[in-house]
Symmetry: C2
Subunit: 348 residues, 2 copies
Amino acid sequence: VSATRSDLRAPPPLDWDGQRLRILDQTLLPAEERIVELTGAADTAEAIRRLAVRGAPNIGIAAAYGLAMEVAREPGLGSLERGASRLVEARPTAANLGRAVQRVRWAAVKAYAEGGAVRMAAAARAEAEGIHAEEDQASRRMGELGAELLAGCGRVVTHCNTGALAAGGRGTALGVIAELADRRPVKVLTTETRPLLQGARLTVWELRRLGIEHELVADGAAPGLIARGQADAVIVGCDRVAANGDVANKVGTYSLALAAREAGIPFVVAGPTSSLDPAAATGAEIPIEERDPDEVREAGGELLTLPETPSRNPAFDVTPAALITALVTERGVARPVDRRTLAALLAP
Amino acid sequence: VSATRSDLRAPPPLDWDGQRLRILDQTLLPAEERIVELTGAADTAEAIRRLAVRGAPNIGIAAAYGLAMEVAREPGLGSLERGASRLVEARPTAANLGRAVQRVRWAAVKAYAEGGAVRMAAAARAEAEGIHAEEDQASRRMGELGAELLAGCGRVVTHCNTGALAAGGRGTALGVIAELADRRPVKVLTTETRPLLQGARLTVWELRRLGIEHELVADGAAPGLIARGQADAVIVGCDRVAANGDVANKVGTYSLALAAREAGIPFVVAGPTSSLDPAAATGAEIPIEERDPDEVREAGGELLTLPETPSRNPAFDVTPAALITALVTERGVARPVDRRTLAALLAP
């Protein structure tokens, strides 16, 4: 523990006191560190939709608490179902959201069947706390497995934000990088991640706190720098992994995978098994969220183009399994990434 | 001519009255259309450096006029050499800049040898006007050849700005798109082109004036949309083409070429032969300009990340010839793009 970098000074992204969930509003970072208190399904769903809380594992955790708070406030099957629907509809792509809400929902339904509405709140809360603890534990394990995998890599490219702001513990891909940096010198090339700049705003903020050397680049610059031999590996997170290993992740991921293959360096994905979705046969079955075009027309609140410019804003893209060197999960590393290795990870 | 779209309402990017060069300051677009008058080598070099005038062919034209104005103001070999150095050093990557300055320089030196300093100004001006006329003519011819090549393509991806703001006539890649749009319905997917947003600011401005349907996307989104079958071709310009066909172009180009190959759609480069540099054997010999990191830290004048975040800002990347389906020049189309086909284009 003494070797762990001092990443604890920042306010925690998710803070649960047993009754209320406090989140660090990520839309305001890095300029302002504002804590927002959530009290039920509606405000939690809204916080997820507007990305005040984000990152596939963390939106699962937040949604779980959101539903638990909803049931505590108004025990009963009606409020449970309304709250669950509201939360699941907040964002479509991350597998973790639906999975976490389903787990809390079933725990509450089971408690209702056994002891009536009075038992629901405690069961929902216990399930949400269990999900949170599992994700913390998963991040720790992914960090260890990923750091072993990348032991020879001192220059690492990452995309979007996958640190403590996005997942339990120290994060998924950024959790691996933090663990790697505890073991050897590491330099991170981080993309800015347009349109919402999670790299420039959040990853830079976390890397500075972690004391890890980093350089920020435009999204379009990373593939060319990889081609020029300036990186030893690419590591990213994931929002949903299909049964065949295709990965949906933040838009821009696909081009990094193409560049990594071309340069002959590893392209590694880190994510808990809660991001796996065996019901999606391939990446083509993963719903891709299309967000407000204003996010593309603007940056930092400034209009960047002509008003009313037609625009598309897919929040994710799909990287085919064949481009992925390894998938690091808390249950082990799938390598190669295919139907067989993923099924083995999920086997009891 | 009657079929040509009404792209003439905008102020011309370059306006030469025989004595002074007036440029549309592209750093202010699309919010403001301000004309700046240039009078010699120093202010022209500065306008090129700060991207008030930009695009490989247009910086060649502007530099040619800059040197001609310098020699008209102060005839003599000293001012010629000082002016030429100043202009050539303004930006390192585009081949057109050095080539245009060399042409004007030699025309002036020849006139000096034949008739002394008094003859220099007229010779330099005539050479600069010749370069300008050649680039206009080259754009027209590239438009025709490129539109034939892409006749079957209704959905086209482009990057950065390659229209009249960047090159003579209607431009290089965007000139091809404009000609194609005169012949068939075309929809353009244009990248925003971080960090300086030439796509969001300039290409959108030109496409709206041209009346061509378009959608703006984040740079990282284009490869994923290509993979999802949403484009029939990619067409971009070039800043320098090595002897083996490797192309240096705006950073972010390389990932579009990788995505196009993966999707099995054509990746076409359009540029005048003034962008060819046979002295560079391969792309590895092309100097890549590194610009101010503040361009990455900011957008629209707003700081996007923590102050003093370390950052890299390569303005270009290199796309290997093997990824390029065809190179459209005013002298014909090289297809495949290799040492042999490029040498044939340059043969007298």
